[in-house]
């Protein structure tokens, strides 16, 4: 919580952006983001699209794991479900504005099934149960050739809105970030509702939550369903972005990637999801570019620097866990507190 901020009403405390400065920054950020196709290079836009997809998926996992405390390692598989759903529906002429929510809905339904073990087990046992779900789903991706295209994968028709085709990254950008913006807002709002509070209660002590009247079964399954819905939507967008997909994309390492993103970003925080996805996507890329640039100037060190980037990335994550276990969101909160005292006092 920031110092020197006094809310006089509950509504004031519950506002998403609680000061004119915060609203101004948010508006500026949104304007910059949504004008990016006008000023960003092809490369910047491609990276932005990938980050946008990862942000949506990370938001979903943060709802399940960060907010409700239920570990899921089946997130990559949910992405796959979404991706193959839009591919299948697209091939049958279903427009994207139906296919994309359907992708999320199907992933959510599967999320409920995968979440069933959470009613009996938690922690590491739940993680193992979700790993099993991951392997079952990825097996289906490889073997159900008529729907998924099997190991060679499948093509995904472009998203098309009444004749306007989302061809190329500049158009896909709006599709991806439109969804990301809506879903981030929804996640932020969810935290303010009784459902969001029930998630936190279940995470902190599920017995106590049940005594307080929280329906554990419904809450846990809803947390899985919502997380999977976000992942399914992200998977659908991934399909539209790449146009072609193979099961090799949805590996267990992708689930670990998202788990690392919410830990680095900050558990149970929308901002943490965004920053975590940004960090996990962008820092390896920045390290790679740095290594590449250094190699151009010092050709002798190319062989050393390129393999080093993975080690550096690993060290950065460990450093975060040691020095800032609350993630990037906590660093951002500290920065805000500092700036709130000077020069942006509101």
């Amino acid at each position: 919580m920031r110092t020197g901020v006094f809310h006089e009403t509950f509504a004031a405390e519950e506002r998403l952006w609680d000061s004119p400065t915060a609203r101004t920054w948010m508006l500026t950020f949104t304007a910059l983001l949504f004008t990016m196709p006008a000023w960003g290079s092809d490369y910047v836009l491609a990276m932005a699209c990938i980050i946008g997809i990862h942000v949506i998926a990370t938001l979903g996992l943060n709802l399940t794991t960060g907010n409700a405390g239920l570990i899921s390692l089946a997130h990559a598989a949910f992405l796959g479900v979404g991706c193959y759903t839009v591919a299948f529906l697209g091939r049958h002429g279903v427009p994207f504005y139906i296919a994309l929510p359907a992708a999320g809905a199907l992933a959510a339904a599967l999320g409920v099934v995968v979440g069933l073990p959470s009613l009996r087990v938690k922690g590491i046992y739940l993680a193992i149960a979700t790993i099993a779900a991951h392997f079952i789903l990825t097996f289906v991706f490889r073997e159900w050739e008529s729907v998924t295209g099997g190991v060679p994968g499948t093509a995904i028709p472009r998203a098309n809105l009444f004749g306007f085709e989302f061809r190329g990254d500049r158009r896909n950008f709006y599709l991806i970030f439109g969804c990301a913006f809506i879903l981030a807002l929804a996640a932020r709002n969810l935290a303010r509702t009784h459902i969001g509070r029930a998630f936190v209660a279940v995470r902190d002590r599920d017995f106590s939550a049940e005594i307080l009247g929280v329906n554990l079964m419904r809450t846990k399954l809803l947390a899985f369903a919502l997380g999977a819905f976000y992942a399914g939507t992200a998977g659908g967008l991934l399909g539209y972005f790449y146009g072609n997909i193979t099961p090799d994309y949805f590996l267990l390492t992708l689930s670990v990637f998202y788990l690392a993103a919410i830990i680095v970003g900050g558990l149970g925080s929308v901002l943490g999801s965004v920053l975590g996805a940004l960090f996990m996507t962008f820092v390896p890329e920045a390290l790679r570019l740095f290594a590449q640039a250094s190699s151009d100037r010092f050709p002798g060190v190319a062989g050393l620097l390129l393999p080093m980037q993975q080690a550096v990335f690993g060290i950065l994550i460990i450093a975060f866990l040691i020095f800032e276990p609350h993630g990037l969101a906590a660093i951002w909160a500290r920065v805000r507190r500092t700036f709130h005292l000077w020069p942006f006092r509101t």
């Binding site: 491609a46 193979t246 590449q292």
Partner: protein, 398 residues
């Protein structure tokens, strides 16, 4: 102190982040040069091949430039490390496409080729190739910009079956067992091989699918023991678990002939199996780097000795990317000779004329690349005296 370190880390990250994606690439392609872009897996799980692939294409460009380039134009090679990650590989493609406007692009996987196809076709100025020999990236209709630098996996298996059928004409048909990884590299060639085996009357007595790595070999060997194969064909492995299979087969009293294709016939495999007394045999799409009857292989060896004296073995990955470079250069040469711009339709038209193209012995026969692949190969067998793979057949076209 702790907060100081934290601040330094955050500042460092910020600086690294600000340098990266917004930095402007080098100048766009000049009129007197032809740019070849590449997303190479120099790090990551495929780095054992990626380094050789990167060196192969880079060295070809340097070698070609030393010979005067293509119609007086130099080849400029622009490569970045993909880490064998699709996101990274696609981002590199988009970055180099925007900053360099390349006419050719080399990628790291089947997935990569499929993911960039729509953008590559839409750009109308780039053809792609990669290390992938998968059937899906040789589909001229679905992936019209891609060239497979060799036969597809099914064709390699057809070549292998042809060889088995030819060598067993006089005696009984050998029982064949397939052991393959549950990956595209493992599975892609199997249906083609099985279909050709059926046509040739060769019995497939066992078919075992395994994970790519971390395999418990014992239960699979038990299946093979029941099937009693004369030949075991491995597909989808670079080395492991082939030696372990051989050891346990020996312990079970079986001594089948071990066969493979493509990347599974590289030095790590034939050395390890050779140490166990196995004469690895298989279908290769290229000549080996130690052979002296291919002029281009000799050029390659001479260039390597000069440019990379520490490299003692020419990997098939090196030869593959060098060959991709040769195909790129030949397409550009044919377009420029006909005074045509390097657009995708013009380059496709040039490729369609490459029906009897001399690869300088990298592949044995005059290569027909018109269908975006080179459908020929040759059987090689391990020679324990020379400790190398030596030709066991002529070149077979399928």
């Amino acid at each position: 102190m702790t907060s100081l370190i934290r601040r330094k880390i955050v500042q460092g990250l910020g600086a690294a982040a600000s340098v990266g994606p917004f930095s402007i690439g080098s100048v766009l392609a000049q009129k007197n040069e032809i740019v070849i872009g590449a997303a190479q897996p120099i790090t990551g799980v495929f780095s054992f091949a990626g380094v050789a692939m990167n060196n192969g294409l880079n060295d070809f460009c340097q070698w070609k430039n030393s010979k005067g380039g293509v119609q007086g134009r130099n080849l400029r090679y622009v490569a970045e490390d993909s880490g064998f990650k699709l996101d990274q590989g696609v981002a590199i493609f988009k970055k180099i496409m925007a900053s360099e406007k390349p006419n050719f692009f080399y990628g790291d996987s089947t997935q990569w080729v499929k993911a960039v196809t729509q953008d590559a076709v839409a750009s109308n100025h780039v053809m792609t190739s990669s290390t992938s020999l998968a059937t899906v990236v040789a589909d001229v209709k679905q992936v019209p910009q891609n060239i497979v630098p060799g036969p597809t996996y099914p064709r390699l298996h057809e070549i292998l079956m042809e060889y088995i059928a030819r060598t067993s004409r006089s005696g009984p048909k050998p029982n064949i067992a397939y052991v393959y990884a549950d990956t595209e590299f493992g599975r892609d060639g199997i249906p083609g091989g099985k279909a050709r085996a059926e046509k040739l009357g060769l019995p497939i007595v066992a078919e075992i699918v395994t994970k790519q790595s971390g395999i418990d070999v014992a239960p699979e060997v038990a299946k093979l023991r029941r099937a009693k194969p004369d030949i075991v064909i491995f597909q989808g492995y670079i080395l492991a678990p082939m030696p372990e299979f051989v050891r346990q087969l020996r312990e079970a009293g079986l001594n089948p002939q071990i066969m493979g294709t493509a990347w599974g016939l590289d030095k790590p495999a034939y050395d390890a199996l050779g140490a166990l007394g196995v004469r690895l045999t298989g279908a290769s799409m290229y000549r080996y780097g130690h052979e002296t009857d291919g002029p281009m292989i000799n050029e390659m060896r001479t260039y390597l000795a000069k440019a990379r004296p520490d490299v003692k073995n020419i990997s098939p990955f090196y030869i593959s990317s060098w060959l991709s470079g040769m195909i790129f250069a030949e397409i550009a040469d044919r377009c420029l000779k006909a005074k045509k711009e390097l657009t995708l339709p013009n380059m496709q038209a040039a490729l369609s004329t490459m029906k009897e193209w001399d690869t300088g012995g990298v592949t044995g026969l005059l290569a027909d690349v018109s269908q975006h692949q080179i459908p020929a190969g040759r059987i090689y067998s391990y020679d324990p005296d020379k400790k190398t793979m030596e030709p066991a057949s002529g070149w077979i076209k399928v």
